[in-house]
């Protein structure tokens, strides 16, 4: 590869690249112990700023099965941080001769993006706060593909806490990209957040309709079910009636645990969480649905269905190894699975003056100020949609300053079209822009 590739977000991979990774993973899975000639002499470093044993072991197993070596810092916070070292310096040191690929877990959103900026070797995001965990998403998609032979057009139920689960959000975007249909069966009060719905609509053209869930049994007994499809409305109309989409057949049920560690005080108290057991699985529409779960589970999946052939959550976890073998081998340059250069993502621009516009206090751009230069990504110019290039948080923008003219424009205004993105500065509203020395462009500005 001529250009260094990283895996920070699932969006860093094209659909074609994902398919190539699936094919390679399937090859590996036929005999996991037969591929130790692929990466001899290569080393991956596990840099875990918070412990996550399962994820770490899965990556380390994958590297060892490729014949490579592993160096491990299972809890970086204890040591490095106490000496005050920045993440940017750590990745430059560890990526400079110690290791050939870095696997990073970090509690701050955007940490992996920052690491990728500074690292001399590929960085894999193994979870950055509540932002992304792309290899988990890849593993889920791969597992679905292995079970069903395709992803496009599948009907996939997302069940449980859809509000706080990072895994569910990433999985939903990825399903939409692949053209799968999504059935939302949320725990009451834990529906998909608006910003996720908005992104599904705006970026993937997904259209939500109410669903008739009479054949879904007790799984949907206490929820309104929403059906979201990227299909054309005229096709959809063939299958829906006045009451919405008729659920007659489900391909997969993806269950999540309650993300209690993210609940606000009082939230989720007395919560009677969904439980998938034998009786729920008896529903007509679920007769050949596979049951998935990112694990660890608590009680949301009853042990009584562990031996049901539709329960594939342990297989799903096991598939984390071959899919991570594929991504490691690809990033190490040993398998030609990734394009070069990468498919273009959103253009990003450094924030050349003023404060960091990212309002997320847990974003790496706010927690590691020594080396992180704030940076924004322009998702769309018209309508104007801007987000933090590190943590992907959408910026609320009421006025846009121009660094050349020192005037500000309203988001939808004609004058804004002539401002170059790298000269834009984003403000909450007109008053804030004025206080910062950017008066309104007004009449003085040629339209």
């Amino acid at each position: 590869m001529t250009e260094l590739r990283h895996l920070v977000s699932i969006d860093d991979l094209s659909l074609t690249e994902m398919q190539a990774l699936f094919d390679a993973a399937k090859g590996f899975s036929e005999d996991l112990t037969a591929h130790s000639k692929l990466c001899p002499g290569r080393i991956s470093a596990s840099l875990f700023y918070e412990p996550s044993t399962r994820t770490r072991l899965s990556f380390e197993s994958a590297m060892l099965r490729l014949g490579g070596g592993v160096i491990t810092a299972a809890d970086m916070r204890v040591s490095s941080a106490s000496k005050g070292e920045s993440l940017a310096d750590t990745v430059r040191v560890v990526g400079g001769g110690y290791a050939d690929v870095l696997v990073l877990r970090h509690p701050s959103e955007g940490a992996a993006r920052l690491a990728a900026e500074f690292s001399p070797v590929p960085v894999i995001n193994a979870g950055d706060g509540s932002h992304e965990h792309p290899t988990q998403t890849l593993c889920d998609l791969y597992s679905l593909w292995v079970e069903r032979g395709r992803i496009e057009g599948l009907d996939v139920v997302l069940a449980g806490d859809l509000r706080y689960s990072r895994t569910i959000h990433s999985f939903a975007y990825a399903l939409a990209r692949f053209g799968a249909n999504i059935l939302c069966v949320p725990q009451g009060g834990f529906e998909l957040p608006d910003y996720v719905m908005q992104r599904l609509r705006e970026e993937f053209g997904v259209e939500p309709v109410r669903a008739n869930a009479s054949k879904m049994g007790e799984l949907a007994a206490e929820s309104d079910v929403i059906y979201m499809t990227p299909q054309k409305p005229h096709q959809l109309s063939l299958f829906t009636d006045a009451k919405g989409w008729n659920v007659s057949h489900v391909d997969a049920v993806y269950m999540t645990r309650p993300q209690t560690e993210r609940y606000k005080a009082g939230e989720g108290e007395d919560l009677s969480y969904l439980q998938l057991g034998k009786s729920a699985l008896a529903a007509d529409s679920l007769r050949d649905a596979v049951v998935m779960h990112p694990l660890p589970r608590r009680d949301e999946i009853s042990a009584e269905i562990d031996s049901d052939p539709r329960s594939i959550y342990f297989k799903q976890a096991a598939r984390g190894v071959p899919i991570r073998m594929a991504i490691l081998a690809a990033l190490a340059g040993e398998l030609p699975l990734l394009d070069s250069p990468p498919a273009a993502g959103m253009p990003t621009y450094p924030v050349l003056e003023g404060e960091n516009p990212c309002p997320n206090p847990n974003c790496i751009s706010n927690t590691e100020t020594r080396h992180a230069v704030p940076r924004v990504a322009l998702a769309s110019r018209l309508p104007l949609r801007v987000q933090c290039a590190f943590c992907s948080q959408r910026l609320v923008v009421g006025a846009v300053g121009c660094l050349a003219t020192r005037r500000h424009h309203e988001p939808g205004s004609p004058g804004l079209r002539r401002v170059r993105p790298e000269e834009m500065r984003f403000f909450l509203d007109a008053q804030t822009a004025e206080r910062a020395g950017f008066p309104a462009a007004g009449e003085a500005h040629p339209v």
Copy 2:
């Protein structure tokens, strides 16, 4: 191997299998670095729910010397447990593609047995609470065999805290199985517990007699020495007089540290613990006895004898590597050292109704209730001896209910003979049985 083998208890191995492991270990020990072609591509996972650096490093060294790889969770409690994952789920995930063999250390008795029930790959018990640590016992036996060329008929002193040392108990049973003679030299107040003595008598036919220890010097100065032999009484009489067995020659002294972490409040205070030093080793009967210790030691073995050729405790520790290489290679199926199927152990039966009869609060059947189905092992029908299949704790049984007739029987009664083991339910006494709906079989029951 057609049937999956585990090493949960030293009882899982036949004498023939142990001898095969010893032979393989001796071969390995000739050049530890020359066997890296045996397990390439294989991975062992160290799942340590409590830290035990020495044991962990020994296993990991063994796997690396076989050419395999290692993934390590040095303190699982910190991570997995905090997300509430059960042991049963963890071993299904890690054993499902991450690793080819699991090395488990756990603070609950019976944890390794539970893990073996659920794991798709072999489980090795690296210590489960105060229950078993079979590879330590194997290492001790192997070391004795290397030094003496045999185990049968040897005279082995067990010295120090014989009450709380798990290592001593397992070693004593194993010595009895191999037909060695045991000399107990306990620290005062820390004699072998009754249940250990009982098992030695009942299962191995060991007969304890008082010993005349006049030639044992200061080692036995403050203890009554007991000699236990599996030999026939008529042979024994040739060597004993009215005062008991005459100790004239000892083959090995196995010393243990005070297990202070298990002492009850006040116990062991002002304890002047046995110390083995130059003067103790000068005793006539110890002239060519090897000195063993499972390490770590504190002061019970004086540094002044470290250079004595009879002191083999560091060699003993070093032998942990080749013996663990042998067991890893055997379980991985790379060396044909184990029979298939395994030698039959005690039959075990799930507890189909009622409460868990195991009274041990630290047993995994009581600490992990989500997946563990209580299970009893029938050590003997006549006399009735029942124990927990996980932690081996003997059950006190005063009445046995029959799930078919819903009546209870007394342990020695003729009616009990017709009850099938899988239909037995065990009660402390007749009243408890009656309260649970199992009236006495009495006259109503055909005898």
Copy 3:
């Protein structure tokens, strides 16, 4: 090798051996992934009694790149120490079959020397308290040599906290050994300690003179700069005037962070620490000086010079891997880089009676009394200079007892010349010697 070699102190290596290690490291660095045939089957053990992730990962990467395996105890204090095991026992166990080389990090000064006394395999000191960290020094020297092609005669600036930095002290001694010149630019109040200056003078013949730093710019703006050279005085006179050495060209600036963890209460408060940034680097004498730092840095090196080609601190860190590969391969006996027997160091003698003369409470000879036999090293007989053989602390000696005559002598006295070193006992003063039963040799002693 016929004699076991260790790397406890940089003084354990001759200049020739260091040059051989540099040459090997340079060969490795051409392709780090191409040397996995050198140490297959070999295992190194990381025994870290305090966490130091960077150092540990660097060693582990080096061993893996040589094709060897690694077993890791990232924080030994937690486990072993809690069971009360001595360091001497631990290295005998881990060095006895578990591993072929031990990499030891310990908070007590002299720990690595003690470990080397007991270990059956080579010990590498990865930092013992504030005493030595020889592979860091080797890495620094190697980096200088790679950049400049030589070390002898270079002009090297040591800047920042020169008082508490172990790294700086070791580096200064090593530079003097290689015949480099040192420019001290201390943070005010954090000058090189007297005992370091003394050793540089006495052992290496280094002569300090004041330097004219007018061409050093803001780096030296607030410090008196001292120039130290091992060159002959008549040569020096050619380049100095009444104001001292004229600094016109610097080869390297070695910057250190403030060692705040070692500051006494109140020390360093309101400290405005030196910062190396663009403006400081613009100084005439620094035009082609490389900038070095042992990392981690805080603010003493500004991120703005990270992209300056003179900034080599990340390269310097990366070079830790090949230089550690060289030392590991050499100690494992796979590369003939070390002489056998080693170049003779200072003679050392056990302390045969009386108390441990080492006054350092953090010395391993005082913290691990079970196995450490106190030992002194005789740096010089005339004048008498004695130090602890473990932690190198200089002993203040006012009287020397003779174990044969039971008399004491004054350090410079003629009578002392006839006392054999192994019969010397060292006292603070004459009174202390008398109280211990060693009256003055006085007239009674033949002169």
